[in-house]
Amino acid sequence: MEKRLYTVTIFSENTVGLLNQITIIFTRRQLNIETLSVSPSALKGIHKFTITSYASHDIIDKVVKQIDKRVDIIKAYYNTDDELVSQEIALYKVATDKLLELGSIEALIRNYGIRVLEMTKTCVVFEKTGAYEETQKLFDELSQSIGVLQFIRSGRVAITKSKVERLSDMLASIEKQVARKQ
């Protein structure tokens, strides 16, 4: 079956050991995790995982159901790129003298939309946000022209194009159940 890139979004309680529980489910199905990003979500006390992985639709569907089944997972779902707005951030460190030799920093800023974060006599650190292909293109170009001393890229963060986070619907229904029990 055809593999494509899926973005898996997981909302969970903020408990110890959850990342392990999630990653072993990918491991059992022989899926590589391409990127991973974890942070507190917009909802207090709830953490959000954004994971990308190449998989067939059939497999990612089963994996996400098995993740969703874990006790401390509130909700897990998956999307393809066309359903998402996503972004990654990359940091590049280059030698100051090499950069100056290149000539125009202005061109770099205008063409690539970079931001300079730090500049010393020896090196310059700048950032670029964008899709994987965009940050990679800049890295490839700089590597060839002046060399990159250090490079780091974040995992993907993504937001669905629909109006509200689906979790809020789910939490509302959970709250209803709590109210019923009390």
């Binding site: 392990n20 059992r28 006790v71």
Partner: protein
């Protein structure tokens, strides 16, 4: 609120969950709990029974056996390190077979965690993939909460194992204990009532069927939905097969019970799976031992799947109508919408297969006139002697398949066997747990010479607890099921399956267990009667035909209709 040590709070919390029996084994990092336990298990105010097993693996299987027949959560108590790792097989077994157990493991003091301290092992890390929940209690204040949560998780939804790893400092620290209950976790909402839409679609499809066929799994037993199942099958006149773990959900002689599914199941239900027009799977998970080759499995049928676990719907077989929910609710909801129906011709069409199986397999296996004793005839003899109303416990392999095929049942929760994991060595401790859970019932444990030796040390537990388990050892001096595969599929290359065995009667004698050896057909009935004359433990060693094979058989990887009756 009462001030007490963490270890005592643990026991109070267990009693608060209705626990009366613990299967366990003490060790360094759990001594404080055992110290507190002394006052709970001895004397006038005795509130708990502790069963001292001979190996921690046995504690988990005993807890599983206890849970299977009683419907309650089984409880294990073991020490850290090797005590904890010895429970892994049982925890995995409970996970794949949906058996609710809570395993409490001792752990080193929290200041030493992560330092490779003596008998420290990362129990939570190891058990996360094979538990519903694994949690480390590091503070005595967490005990009441964690125990309540553990029992709720283990027993609700699709049941399964929970591990509580209990650090020694939390065991000895003082705490104000107050009992708590848990019946809600916001991130874990077990499916309960099905969606109306799914129920309507299922009823419509089932109502339109000319040749409906139902597959009954353990979900019916776990959901206490046996009556609802029978009402459903009766009203719509639907024949049904059962999975290994679904056995005893319907009485064996129930008119619509068409037998055992899968690799060593009956011919009829396997053939009819690929002939029916609507297949209704009820609390089962389309295990590969049931379906065999998925590419040719029930392709002609529309499939309705009732299950409590959303991740099972569509996991192995594409489903036309998934009905997520507890079968206790979804079965009657569907039944209510159905018109009474009759499928007389369709049901009668099973008969030709039944007759063929009887002639080619059952008669020679169960009623042989000459030659060595057959496993099937031993199982049948015992089943008749207990009037088909005992608890059956099996080990794994030929003994298991023969017992599942030929033991008969009148009531539910009467089968204790390791299905998903196929754990050899499961049977003896599971039988002990089963007998302790229902002392008023006869517990017949069928095993092989291989399986019994994997946990044979548990004869010591029988000795100490005087557990009246009836052990029927079908001895062929082979690892029989592997031998069968070697004969059928590996050119009779009998690699490492020959067993040189001890004198099992002497072994029984050293544990004070009565025993008898039978090799002749003429002695069998009398020996079985001797075994069943009282409620004491008994070992019946039956020397059976060495080349005895389990048939029918769906060869591995084949279509289920390729089921054969002979080599």
């Amino acid at each position: 609120m009462k001030k007490m040590k963490g270890s005592e709070a643990l026991l109070e919390a267990l009693i608060n969950e209705g626990v009366d029996t613990i299967f366990g084994y003490p060790g360094g990092q759990i001594i404080p709990v055992y110290d507190a336990l002394y006052n709970y298990t001895e004397g006038k105010n005795r509130r708990l029974r502790h069963v001292l097993v001979r190996h921690e693996q046995a504690a988990t299987h005993a807890a599983e056996g206890y849970s299977r027949v009683s419907g309650k959560v089984g409880v294990c108590l073991v020490t850290s390190g090797p005590g904890a790792t010895n429970t892994i097989t049982g925890i995995g077994d409970a996970m794949i077979d949906s058996t609710p157990i809570v395993v409490i493991t001792g752990q080193v003091v929290s200041s030493l965690l992560g330092t490779d301290a003596f008998q420290e092992i990362d129990v939570v890390g190891i058990t996360q993939p094979i538990t519903k929940w694994a949690y480390q209690i590091r503070r005595p204040e967490d005990i009441a909460w964690a125990v309540a949560r553990a029992f709720y998780i283990a027993s609700s939804g699709r049941p399964g194992p929970v591990v509580l790893d209990f650090t020694k400092d939390a065991q000895v620290a003082m705490v104000d204990y107050e009992p708590v209950k848990c019946d809600f976790i916001r991130s874990y909402i077990p499916a309960s009532k099905p969606e109306d839409d799914a129920v309507c679609k299922a009823a419509e499809l089932i109502g339109s069927a000319q040749k409906p066929f139902a597959l009954v799994g353990q979900g019916v037993i776990l959901g206490n939905a046996e009556k609802e199942l029978m009402a459903f099958l009766e009203k719509a006149d639907i024949p049904a097969g059962y999975t290994l773990l679904g056995e005893s959900a319907m009485p064996t002689d129930f008119r619509l019970n068409k037998g055992f599914l899968g690799m060593h199941g009956n011919i009829g239900p396997n053939m009819k799976t690929n002939e029916c027009d609507v297949l209704i799977a009820i609390g089962m998970r389309f295990d590969d031992r049931v379906t065999s080759n998925l590419n040719t499995y029930a392709k002609q049928a529309k499939i309705v799947h009732l299950d409590i676990d959303a991740s099972e719907l569509g996991k192995n077989v594409p489903i036309d109508v998934p009905v997520l929910g507890d079968v206790k609710h979804s079965l009657p909801a569907i039944t209510e919408k159905l018109q009474p129906a009759k499928h007389t011709e369709w049901i009668r069409s099973f008969d030709e297969h039944d007759k063929r199986e009887y002639d080619e397999v059952i008669a020679p296996e169960v009623f042989p006139q000459s030659g060595y004793l057959k496993m099937g005839e031993v199982v049948n003899c015992v089943s008749e002697a207990v009037n088909h109303d005992a608890v059956l416990v099996t080990d794994v392999g030929q003994n298991q398949m023969m017992a599942a095929r030929y033991f008969k049942f009148k009531r539910s929760r009467s089968v204790v066997t390791s299905g998903g994991l196929g754990t050899m060595g499961y049977g003896l401790p599971a039988a002990i747990g089963a007998k302790i859970a229902c002392p008023e019932r006869t517990v017949c444990f069928f095993t092989g010479d291989g399986g019994i030796q994997m946990t044979v040390q548990e004869l010591g537990t029988i000795l100490q607890e005087r557990t009246g388990v009836k052990i029927i050892l079908l001895n062929n001096n082979w690892l029989g099921m592997v031998r069968q595969w070697q004969e059928l599929f590996y050119d009779e290359c009998y690699s490492q399956t020959r067993m040189i065995n001890p004198d099992f009667m002497q072994l029984a004698q050293s544990y004070g267990i009565a025993s008898r050896l039978v090799s002749e057909r003429s002695e069998l009935k009398d020996a079985v009667a001797d075994m069943l004359k009282d409620d004491k433990p008994y070992l019946l060693v039956v020397n059976v035909e060495e080349e005895n094979m389990v048939f029918p058989m769906v060869p591995p990887g084949h279509t289920i209709t390729d089921i054969t009756t002979k080599k």
